[in-house]
Each structure stands twice: as C-alpha cells, then as structure tokens.
Symmetry: C2
Subunit: 587 residues, 2 copies
C-alpha cells in the first residue's frame, strides 16, 4: 500500500513535497468549506487540510476511520508549537477511505474519563494511545539493548521449557493436564532456575533468557499471572563478575533508552548494614536520613522504658529530620504512631522537637538533661528539627523507622525524582524463621550458597548465617535478585539438612536435579531481573498494566478475551480430568 | 574466579604466556611421569601437560572433573593438525581441583554408542558435546540477527499472553485450570495469531515476536509440544511488502550465521503452478525434473486406459530422468509402484525406457508408434533415459509424480546439497474439502483474505477460489506460512458463511476478536517462521531435538525431569478438578 512518509515525522523542511500518508482519524473539524483532519499513525499526528475541491469526499468520515491521503506539505499559517508536526500541514489532493469505524467505546485522545475495566475490555483501542504505545516500544528497546550487551559479553540465549516438571507442594504452580498421559501434569515454571543451573552443568558457561515466568498468586496490585525475567547465569563466577555484567547492562539500558548516565559501579551494602541504616532490604537512596543506633547514649539511663529494652538486648534507634518539626502536630504524630503500630509491630513512637534550643516531645520529660544534650550533640540539632526514636527489639525498631523514613521522605518531598540510585544489597540471611512451619526455611532458595565463613553456623546459629544471595535495588524497588549457587554436593546435603529436609525428601523434590550435580558442576551464580518492573521505572508508571500489552486485572481476569473461560466437557474428557462436583454446582 | 583465556582460543602466538584456564577434563593420559589432560570449556579443548613436579596432584583426576590450571603456553613437539589448539600445549605450574565428578553415564566425546533415550535422560551431559552446544549457539545467533533486522525495519517486539483464551473445539489446545475461577480454563496459544491481529487494530503497525507456541499433537517425529515462531505482522502491507522484509531477514541470517549469500529476491510460483510442476506445495528446487502434462499428445489415443482418464477429465503427467533407466529393474520399479499406491492413491505407475533408440516398458505395447515418437520428441529422449507416466485424476497424478520425483532425486543423488533454494508459493486455495466433516473448511485460517478476483467464487466455486495465503519453501521444507488477512467486516462475514458458520457460531468462537474489527481495522498481513525448522536447515540436522535445549521424546515425555508427572490431590483440589476415575484406575 502506497505510503511515502510517517505522519509524525514531517517538518517544515518537507514543505513543497508531495506525500502519501496513511492512518487513523484522530480528530475532524470543519471551518466553512474546509475540513481539517488530524491523521494518526504510530509515529504521531499530522494535520490534513481538505479544501472545497475534495472536502465532499470526507464529509462522512468520523473518528478512527482509516484514510490514505496524498497531498502537498505546506507551512501552517498558525503553527501549533505543542505538536511535533505543528509547523506544517498537508493539503490533500487525493483521499481513499481505507476502512470505516464504529464509534469507539473509549476516547482515544484522552483516557481520563474511562474506567480501567472498560479500557481493559477494549485494550486494542486503549493501545492506540501514544503513552501506551511508547511503553511497549520502550520495553522493546530495553530488550534489544539487554540482548546486545549480553551477547557482547559471551552470553547465549537459550529457551527453556514452559511445559516443565511440577514440584510436590508447588502451590503457586499453574498445572497443565497431559492428554497422552492422563492423570499426569506439567507445571508452568515460576522461573527457569533449575534449567539454567542445568545449563551451567552442561557447560554453556554463560546463559541468558528473556523468560516468561508464571506464578499463581493471590491478588496483588503490582503482579500479573505471567511476567518476564531477564534471566542470567554464569559459571566460574563470583559476585564481582556478576555485578560487573549487570552494571554494564543497566548502564547501557538507561543510556540508550533514556539518555541517563549511571556510574561505572553501583554502591554496595550488606543486608545487615542496610537493615541498620534503612530498616529495609530495599532502601530508597534518593534521600539520606539514615537510621542511627543511639543505644550507647543510654548505657546508664534511668528511663525505665529504655532501660528494659537495653537489658533485653533491644536497640534504641533514631531518625533525624531537619526543619520540619512544626509540620508534625500532635494529630499528625498520632497518625504516624498508628501507621507504625498496625503495620510494623512498633509499640511506641517517641519523638523530640527542638525549639529555642530546648527539646520537647514525648520523651523530653523522662530523659535526663545529659541524655538530651547527648542527643542534641549526636544530631547537631537545630531549631525546628525533629528526632523520632523507637526503642524495641532491634528488628522491629529498625523496620519501623525504615518505614517512617520512607513515609516522611514522601510527605516532605525529600526525594530527588530525577535520581536513579542503585544499590547492591549483599549477604542476605541464609535462613528465615517460618512462624507457620515453626522451623528455619531457606530465605532465597535451597541452592543458594552460604558465605564460606558462615558454613559452621548452618546448624548452630541459623539466625546469623549469611548467604551469597544479593538484590539490586533501585529507588526503593527490588529490581533483581540472585545468588551464588552451591556447587558442592556435600554442602548441598548439609543445607538440606539445615532446613529439615532428609536426603530422601530432597530427592523426591529435586531428584533429577540433584543427580546432575554429581557429574562435574562448575561454581556458578546468576540473577533474574524483573523486566516489567524495570520498564515501569523507566517509563515512570506505577501501574504494571501500563507496560504489558494484554494484561489481566488484579484478580487474573482478561476482560478483553473473557478468559479464563469454560470449555467443552469433551475437551476435559480427553485430558482425563473433570471439574469437581462442588465447583460444577456453584457454576 | 581467575581465568585469563578460553581454552579453544590459544595459538602458537601465545607461546611463552602464563595463562590460567578452567574447564572439564575431557581426556587424561599418562606417559611415564607425565600426565596429559585435555581441558574443555565452551570454546574448545586445550592440552595441559603436568610434569613430574606436579603430576602427583592430578593422579586421582578423572573425566569430567573440573580444574583450574595455571601454566605456560609452549609449542608442541608433535602438533595435532586436527585440533584448533593443536600447535600448543600448556605446561602446568599450579592446579586447583574445582570439583569432582562421578563416572558419566554417557560418553561425551562420542555419542555413537549411547541410545537417544539415555542421552535425553542425561541431557545436561549430552549438552556438553560440541555439536549440540554449537546448535544452541547457532539458534541464538539466528535470533539475534532476526531481531536486529526486524528492529531496523521498524518492527516492535511485543510479548503476548501464554495464558490465553481457549476456543471451543480447540482440540489441540493445552488447557490450564484456574485456581481463582474453579471450573474455568486458559489455553496455551497455538500461535499469537489473534493477538498480533489485535496489535494491528491497536495501531502498532509493525509487530514481531519470537513466540513460544504450543500444540497438543499426536506423535510426530519432527514436532515438539512447544515450538517457536518468528512471528511477524504488518499493517498497510501487501504481499510484496511482507516478502521484501522476509527476504531481507533470510539473507541476513544466512549470511551472518553461515556466510551463505542468497539472492535479492526469491523465486515465486502460484500454488497451482507448483502443483502442476512439482506435485507438491513445498517443492525441492535443488534439482529440476519437473512434471510435464502430456495429455495433449493423447487427444486421439486408442489406448483405453488413457482414453478413459481423458474422457473423465483426468490428466496424463510424466516425469523424465536422463541416463538412469538401467538402474530401475522390474523389481525396483515394483517397489516404486508400491510406494505410490500405498501413500499416494495412484492406481498405476507406467514407464518407458529407451534402449538403442527404441522404447520399451509397461506402456510400450498399448501406445501407437506415433504416440511413442511424440513422447521421444517431447523429452528429447536419449538411450538409457526413463519416463514415468501416471494417468489419473489430475491431483492424484501430480501428487504421486511429485513424490516419485523427490524419491528418485534422493536415490540418484540429483540434489545439490550445498544449495539453498527458496520459493514463495502464493495463491493457496481458500478452502479445502474435509472428507470428515463433508464440507469446505478454511485451508489456512478463516481470517485469510481471498484473492480480490475470486471473491465471487466464495459460494459458487469453492474449489477454485484462491486466497492471499503464501508459504516460503526451502529445499522442500515449509519454512513459514502467512497470509494477507481480511480487514473488511462484510467480507469476513461472507467467508464465515462460506465455511458454513453462522454469525452466531462465529461470534461464539471468535467473539471479542470480531468486535475489534468494527473500530477501524487497517489492511494487514504477516507470517510465522518456524525457528526450529530454520535452525535445523542451517545446522544440517534432521532431528528437531538437536536444536532444542531440553526436548521431549516423540511422545511428549521429558525423560530428564520425568514430566509430565503426578501431583498431590491437594493441588488438584484447590484447582477444582479431579482426575477422572477411569484414569485413576489404570494408574
């Protein structure tokens, strides 16, 4: 089909040229005998003028009709500085109505008046909006850059199965019944973890895959049933090798898609440092206000609350903000108190404000003058400063202040919105205690290596046993997680034992995978980068559906195709399954 | 982990350098006090020499152990011209046994002694073989080139859902039960067809995706349950536009992966021409020997067999081969006869051989001298030539001779194995008659546009109604198929009617998709390229499992992970399904 130019690319330098454009009618206006049509294609919009010699041919044309127009580019009398093509228009000499359109159920130029559910039902129309198209193009550009960089670094993209083995207790697995082997099932992979480690055992050395993953989770706003991971695994690699590759990858992606220059190497903190300073394993480093442990100031305190926390091995941590004390009235402080109590288990939020050199606030009275002076010195307090204090079990005190830090950071606009602050968080705990199962479980996954110096803590001090798991955090979001894996059989068996798995149980769960480890497994490690999250960060959206072409609702419904849906009994019969009676009844 | 070089890359120019290598022990030999180890990594193999000062440290090292070796590159006394690194060896000064290995159940250097089933069970060991690694790398390179070229041409890669809507009667669909909506199912897509057409309606204009597809088929040697398609769709495009993009893509892939230069444009034949000349819609053009319709020579024949075929509207077609008549004894000819009867419905295979200028053979007697002379003239016959003749219904005669052409082409080595002969086959039939359903069904899919000049045949002459569907054929294999789609609602309704679907039935099957067509659908078309097939052609393998990292058997079993497998009843319960009793009993 004849088309000489893309609509959004015409400029004043094209004036005088005869062009043929195609696209959708974005807007149509009449002025006397003239008709003006904004014609939209993927590249943008161009204004077409139909004069009296040809206006008749477009008199029935409505929004979203598709036209093919030939005409001459000319300078506009009244340039529109808001449009990329605002200096020109095309005077039509020929027009072909390529297709008609019924009235669109959503307004494409402006989505503000339409509910998200309606827009999801008519996703193919919502996708005509430029911001959404730009997000899909951005996602494409991220993938193109990622593949180029990884290829340059010697990584080979290998596709691993979507029809994979189900694992016992794989409660978050989507299952697929087998027609040939009735009664048996595949599972859709939650990640290519096992396959990529097998590829290391296979000697592929450097693997990547932009991999579709599946997790059957309950409703969460920032998740979709299927999501995408830039999945990377390297042999003969340690943390530094992997970090270097990821840093190169991120630098290239940010530079090429957004022109943002990132530093050569990203900041690193251990998980423990992170928890101490930010009370979070994904701190937002776009502002300071680190947590400070002020327990030493109260070694001799007579304030009973602090005394008992210290005697019980707890911590007194504090958070200092300059020049905002006047904005935190009693009522505002009560709100913060409630926020921390309900979500973060903190019993009490104490505070001190300085006014005319004097401290007031919830703990001004019980503290001694010396203690108050110590606090003033510690933070170099000025008038109108505020210090929040939580004395509690260390983990509760830190986490609560971490949450408070982020909340006030947002409330007070302390965050530099133009900054991209990357942070490697390393040495994650090897285990976490499952209250539900009343035992220590693997915090990452059971193939993660412990720190060499902590191997002796596997059975004796699980709480303080660190692993070689790491996350990359950006502006408070976890962008990827990964680890150095265990490559030694004996160590693997020990780790299973430490999380209470017998070798028999381990074999039942990971059988063929464990066998593979016996035949020469290289040291290896890797990461999985959340592609949707990365695209969200770069496009500046908070809605995951803005970066997915055909998303589902938060409750996993595709409103456009109305799926999942019911199927014929005959289809189920050949699969050897039935819908349970209790379900059929409620249908 | 320290590593200065890749094993397969060392050359004589590296002599004198101190290097650190890592890899797997491929072979280990002792000569007196010396130990020689071939150390393998992804790049290749390098010979390491351990002299008496260090040999003790590797005395227990066995095949597939992993070593890290530091040493000095030196020229070999006896160069091995078969190895890329055959001119050098590394004299070890330090060695670190990185990991041990049990005896591998398969021989990695040579797979000839191991059954495919055993190799599939230990796929991660089989993948250590260089030919398989090279295939995965080739597949990666094809993908990299495809993405670069399509990106250059303005195509955007968009991911479409794997959890998709099941279609009624989707008998080849894999189904996924929903946990949140018990009793409802998703289907894994057989192709992204509907989604990519929706992206055209959405105004994306140029889409591609290297897309995972799923088809629950019965056992076929060249299929896998999941496969990959380089999926492309273009708006405002006609056949020429799409062919140009695909030709550019193929030229780049063949040049960059294999150094093969392909012509600027590929040959084209209509489906009808193809069937006439080659009796196949995927002819192998690496040799000639086209079918010739010799019916006109027998307008006046008194040979009853030919007479009756002509009177019944059949055809007499012939295939001529030079200088091979002596190789087709009565017995060999009987075999060909059986081959055609059993697989191709041909009642009889006639033949004529020329010896000393005289024709002999099965129809030498019933034909008149004039008819035989006409045949000799027609083919310019020489001694030892043979002409095969089949008189039958046109389609049977052509198809049978097409199959015979390929068989003899292979038997007689007429095929130039170094050639890559691409062919566009266009104007496929719009319909094919389903004997099973006793009606005309869509030959491609019901969204394929009919040829404009054949629209009036939709109801009156379905047999001769041509479509805008096309295939790209390479060396006798279908590499891709595609079509220009219908973008006009009225025409779409007509086509549904022609295949016996009421609008109500069409809506039940394709509901939301048909609605989308109402809001301004651009003319569009596209292709889906079989990535596994393309990789097979370029790697020279006939086994699809050679180009898939983790393949299944022909009966869809993954022997490595033993999947599909049984799952806990509790898992099924939350999905609201049960395994049918009849299945449970036989379990």
């Amino acid at each position: 089909m004849k088309r000489t130019d893309h609509n959004g690319t015409l400029r004043l330098s094209d004036a005088g040229r005869t062009v043929t454009l195609v696209g959708w009618v974005s807007k149509r206006r009449s002025f006397g005998s003239l008709v003006f049509i904004d014609l939209r294609d993927r590249s943008g919009i161009c204004q077409i003028v139909f004069d009296e010699t040809i206006a008749e041919q477009v008199k029935d044309v409505r929004s979203e009709y598709i036209l093919q127009v030939t005409g001459t580019v000319q300078a506009r009398k009244d340039p529109n500085p808001k449009m990329a093509t605002g200096e020109i228009e095309v005077l039509a000499s020929e027009v072909n109505i390529v297709n008609t359109a019924e009235t669109s159920p959503i307004t494409i130029a402006d989505d503000s008046d339409t509910s998200e559910d309606v827009r999801l039902k008519y996703r193919y129309l919502d996708l005509r909006r430029k911001p959404l198209q730009d997000n899909l193009i951005l996602r494409h550009r991220i993938q193109m850059t990622a593949r180029r960089v990884l290829d340059e670094e010697g990584f080979v993209e290998v596709s691993t199965p979507i029809l994979a083995r189900s694992t016992p207790e794989g409660a978050r697995d989507y299952l697929v019944p087998s027609r040939i082997y009735n009664g048996r099932f595949w599972a859709l992979p939650q990640s290519p973890q096992i396959y990529k480690q097998l590829l290391m055992i296979a000697g592929m050395e450097r693997y990547f895959q932009i991999a579709r993953c599946f997790r059957d989770e309950d409703l969460r706003a920032d998740r979709q049933p299927e999501f995408t991971q830039i999945d990377i695994e390297m042999s003969f690699a340690e943390e530094d090798d992997i970090f270097r590759v990821v840093e190169k990858l991120m630098r290239a992606i940010f530079l090429e898609t957004k022109g943002i220059e990132l530093p050569e190497a990203f900041q690193r903190l251990t998980w423990d440092e992170c928890m101490r300073l930010y009370g979070s394993d994904k701190p937002d480093l776009r502002f300071g206000n680190e947590i400070r442990n002020i327990t030493p100031l109260f070694e001799q305190t007579e304030f009973q609350v602090f005394r008992s926390v210290i005697d019980n091995g707890g911590e007194i941590n504090a958070l200092h903000f300059s020049n905002i004390a006047d904005q935190y009235s009693r009522k505002a402080l009560d709100k913060l108190q409630d926020f921390l109590k309900s979500g973060f288990k903190a019993k009490a939020l104490a505070y001190l404000k300085q006014e005319n050199g004097v401290l007031s606030g919830s703990i001004a009275k019980p503290l001694s003058e010396a203690e108050k002076e110590a606090i003033q010195r510690e933070f170099d307090l000025k008038d109108n400063d505020i210090v929040f204090v939580i004395a509690d079990k260390a983990s509760i005190s830190r986490t609560a202040l971490g949450a408070l830090r982020v909340r006030i950071g947002h409330e007070q606009n302390l965050i530099d919105r133009s900054a991209y602050k990357f942070l490697w968080v390393t040495d994650f705990p090897m285990f976490e205690y499952s209250e539900e199962e009343q035992r220590w479980v693997a915090a990452h996954h059971p193939f993660t290596a412990p720190k060499a110096e902590d191997e002796d803590k596997l059975f004796t001090d699980q709480e303080h046993c660190s692993s070689r798991a790491y996350d990359l955090v950006l502006n408070g979001y976890e962008l990827l997680s990964g680890s150095i894996r265990i490559h030694d059989q004996e160590l693997q068996e020990k780790v299973f034992e430490a999380i209470g798995l017998t070798m028999e149980q381990a074999k039942e769960k990971f059988g063929f995978f464990l066998e593979a480890f016996r035949y020469g497994t290289p040291p290896h490690g890797g990461v999985g980068i959340g592609l949707e999250r990365l695209t969200m960060v770069l496009s500046g959206t908070e809605n995951i559906r803005d970066v997915v072409a055909f998303p589902t609702t938060n409750s996993s419904l595709d409103l456009m195709s109305e799926s999942p849906n019911y199927v014929d009994d005959a289809q189920l019969e050949i699969l050897g399954i039935e819908v349970s009676e209790s379900t059929t009844e409620s249908k």
